[in-house]
């Protein structure tokens, strides 16, 4: 474990320093040593900012772009971030089916067409009630039916509330898909069409990249972004601020522009969860579509592309 870990860390550090970012890594082996990886020094130096805030010089030849890799092992990814309990609030009065959340999610996770982890459904409670648009993600249930039925612990619940998938372990039995009442899970029926640089990456449960043939995928609450203290892609992509994300223990959720006390928001706007009667205890809350910002019809045009 140790040697492999070191080389990966070194590799990561090289990439991160190259990108001008600071991390807390302290490599035991100097990756910038001449001759490392068979690269010859070019003699041209580049100035960079180190972890400690010092300006350092590195030979240009040793800089190379690396794909974004989370700095966590799969074992760590299974545990989650201690002390956190992530929740999402979706304000239905703000949604007009722009599907920016969906396209941002698909782009960030390299999903193939048709594999939408976020679906925006036209909903109608009863014959004479008003229709509205309802974006759905994985509900990250506290009593997740999918985790209960998984025979190999490939899908798991973390202590911070996020439900993730280990695609290196999934056997593709699809019992979780049958068990999920929210139909949130998506199967890779064929080989995903991915750029070689993405397909060759080691799988990470936190980024859910790369998706693999014969395994299940789903919304991961952008666990990698969350670990960096950033918002999930759908939250930041929505121009209407429909999605709020935050930590239940801190009692605060934000859509990037506005931040609310979670308990107040749920109380004032009568927040609820989907299919409460099933006892799945979702981590995604909805605010009813009262006092809407947009008429329902404004979203119809956008619905045609995939659902005609």
């Amino acid at each position: 474990m140790e040697p492999e870990n070191n080389s990966r860390r070194d590799f990561l550090l090289a990439g991160l320093v190259a990108a001008g970012l600071a991390t807390g890594c302290n490599p035991k082996k100097d990756p910038f040593e001449a001759g490392a990886d068979g690269v010859q020094a070019s003699g041209k130096k580049v100035k960079l900012l180190s972890v400690d805030g010092d300006v350092i010089e590195v030979d240009e030849a040793f800089l190379k772009p690396v794909p974004h890799l989370p700095d966590v092992s799969n074992a760590e990814a299974r545990i989650g971030i201690p002390g956190k309990k992530f929740v999402m609030v979706i304000d239905l009065s703000r949604c007009k089916n722009l599907k920016k959340c969906q396209s941002a999610c698909n782009f960030a996770h390299d999903l193939n067409p048709g594999h939408n982890w976020i679906k925006v459904n036209p909903m109608k409670g009863a014959d004479h009630t008003a229709p509205y648009w309802e974006p759905t993600t994985c509900m990250h249930c506290d009593e997740p039916p999918c985790v209960k039925v998984c025979p190999v612990d490939a899908t798991f619940k973390r202590q911070d509330g996020i439900v993730l998938i280990d695609s290196d372990r999934c056997i593709g039995c699809r019992f979780c898909m049958a068990a999920c009442p929210y139909s949130t899970r998506v199967f890779n029926w064929g080989e995903p069409d991915l750029p070689a640089s993405v397909a060759s990456q080691p799988y990470s449960a936190e980024t859910s990249i790369p998706q693999k043939k014969g395994t299940v995928g789903k919304c991961d609450f952008c666990a990698d972004m969350t670990r960096m203290g950033m918002l999930p892609h759908c939250v930041s992509a929505c121009p209407n601020g429909t999605f709020f994300y935050g930590d239940l223990n801190e009692d605060s959720v934000t859509n990037g522009a506005d931040t609310f006390r979670f308990s107040d928001l749920i109380k004032d706007k009568a927040g609820y969860r989907l299919m409460e009667d099933l006892g799945t205890k979702p981590s995604v809350y909805y605010l009813p579509p009262a006092g809407r910002n947009f008429p329902f019809e404004s979203g119809l045009e956008n619905d045609k592309t995939q659902n005609s």
Partner: protein, 435 residues
């Protein structure tokens, strides 16, 4: 003197026979179907489950229907062998081996088809590395394995006295088979001590197999009933599955009885009386299954809960209505009507009823899996159009047909190697009646 001549005649009648031309053609057809299925599976392995027409909503298709069907059929081994034996039903004795052969063939292909359904079968070993006991799939793996071995032993132990007889006819069975027979049973001397030991073992297995048989099919029903979905979320499911399983198993035994009887001219051993009695068993099982069907559909129909209405309407009068009423009529109602008449329990009508029961049961399994998946709680939206329908692709048909052909091939091979009707038991019975 006449008695022993009669005994020799029985042995000659019941010894396994080489395939004639028709037998070879039959085996050839089965092998051909299996090869087409193997090619389809090769394509599935190469390109993934995308070659099937299963998609995110109908994520289980006819593979799982076939799995349920095979598990159901395999239950007959426990019914005919164990239940009849423990209940002291003597007339069932000539049918036990047929039932056990069907059970072993079906349970093997139940395991095969479940691996075929896996998206990543190369990771099958994960079930043993990371298996989690709270998943009903692990329960299924455990009980199916157990059931397979008990069924195999229940086929094997009663064979031992017959193998001793088979070994007497080395020139008839040829050197290869004789070697195989001595490997299997040369230790069997037929001594009193061995006889008692074997009887004890068979009795113990008969007691053991009944709870295991109930468990395999109950657990199989729980693969569905442990989910929330309309049509699966039912407390009736275990009993409903078991009743259906005994029915289709008994139906398949009737079909096999008729085919073996005609093919091998066993009219003296599988008599119209056997058909009549199996007919009575079958009609009882039909009535039982009908009862569970009424339970399964009438109360939800009465309430028409919003979440179940779409599913129920689709079955009763919608796109699945034709299949649904066909399965109910052909698989349950018509057999009951035919079998209530004495002339309906004659060999040929019984054969036809058996086929109806088995075919109806297959469609019933299809209806248990697919319609529910097409009626999820959330609307089917933001997915490609083809996700909203399901009709199996040629690869799915080919693989499913191959699994059926494979089961029949196993049964065919078993009846080529071993006597279809237990010879020693028939001899014993004959001696008793002569005395």
């Amino acid at each position: 003197m006449e008695n022993s001549i009669k005994g020799e005649q029985i042995i000659q009648d019941l010894l396994p026979r080489k395939f004639k031309t028709s037998g070879r053609i039959w085996v050839g057809i089965l092998v051909a179907i299996c090869l087409v299925g193997a090619y389809a599976y090769y394509r599935q392995l190469r390109y993934g489950l995308v070659v099937t027409n299963m998609r995110d909503y109908v994520s289980w298709g006819i593979y799982i229907s076939n799995f349920v069907f095979f598990v159901a059929i395999s239950l007959v081994g426990s019914l005919i062998t164990a239940v009849f034996r423990l209940a002291g039903v003597k007339w069932g004795a000539p049918l036990t081996r047929i039932a056990e052969m069907i059970a072993v063939g079906a349970i093997i292909f139940a395991s095969v088809i479940i691996i075929v359904d896996m998206g990543s079968p190369e990771r099958f070993y994960n079930l043993f590395l990371y298996g989690r006991i709270q998943s009903p799939i692990i329960w299924d793996v455990i009980v199916i394995t157990t059931y397979f071995f008990i069924s195999l032993l229940l086929l094997y132990y009663p064979l031992l006295p017959d193998i001793k007889i088979l070994l007497r006819f080395k020139e008839k069975s040829g050197p290869g088979l004789s070697k195989f027979y001595s490997f299997l049973g040369s230790f069997w001397k037929g001594s009193h001590k061995q006889y008692l030991l074997s009887k004890k073992a068979i009795n113990a297995l008969c007691v053991a197999i009944i709870p295991v048989a109930f468990t395999i099919h109950t657990v199989t029903s729980w693969l569905f009933a442990t989910t929330y979905r309309p049509g699966w979320d039912s407390t009736n499911f275990g009993a409903y599955f078991i009743a259906g399983a005994f029915l289709v198993g008994a139906g398949s035994v009737v079909v096999a009885m008729y085919i073996f009887r005609t093919w091998y001219h066993l009219e003296k051993y599988i008599t119209p009386d056997h058909f009549d009695k199996m007919g009575r068993v079958l009609v009882l099982l039909c009535l039982l299954y009908l009862y569970f069907n009424v339970n399964e559909f009438l109360t939800p129909f009465f309430k028409m809960k919003e979440s179940e209405a779409g599913y129920l309407n689709d079955l009763f009068s919608g796109s699945f209505a034709l299949t649904f009423w066909f399965a109910i009529l052909t698989g349950i109602i018509l057999p009951i009507i035919v079998l209530l008449f004495k002339s309906g329990r004659k060999p040929l009508p019984m054969f036809i009823v058996g086929i109806m029961v088995v075919v109806g049961a297959w469609f019933k399994r299809y209806l248990i899996v697919t319609p529910t998946l097409l009626h999820p709680f959330m609307p089917m939206h933001d997915v490609p159009q083809m996700y909203k329908h399901y009709f199996p692709s040629w690869e799915e048909w080919a693989i499913s047909m191959a699994s059926l052909a494979g089961t029949m091939l196993i049964i065919t091979i078993l009846c080529r190697i071993f006597p279809i009707i237990p010879i020693q038991e028939t001899l014993d019975e004959h001696h008793e009646t002569v005395k």
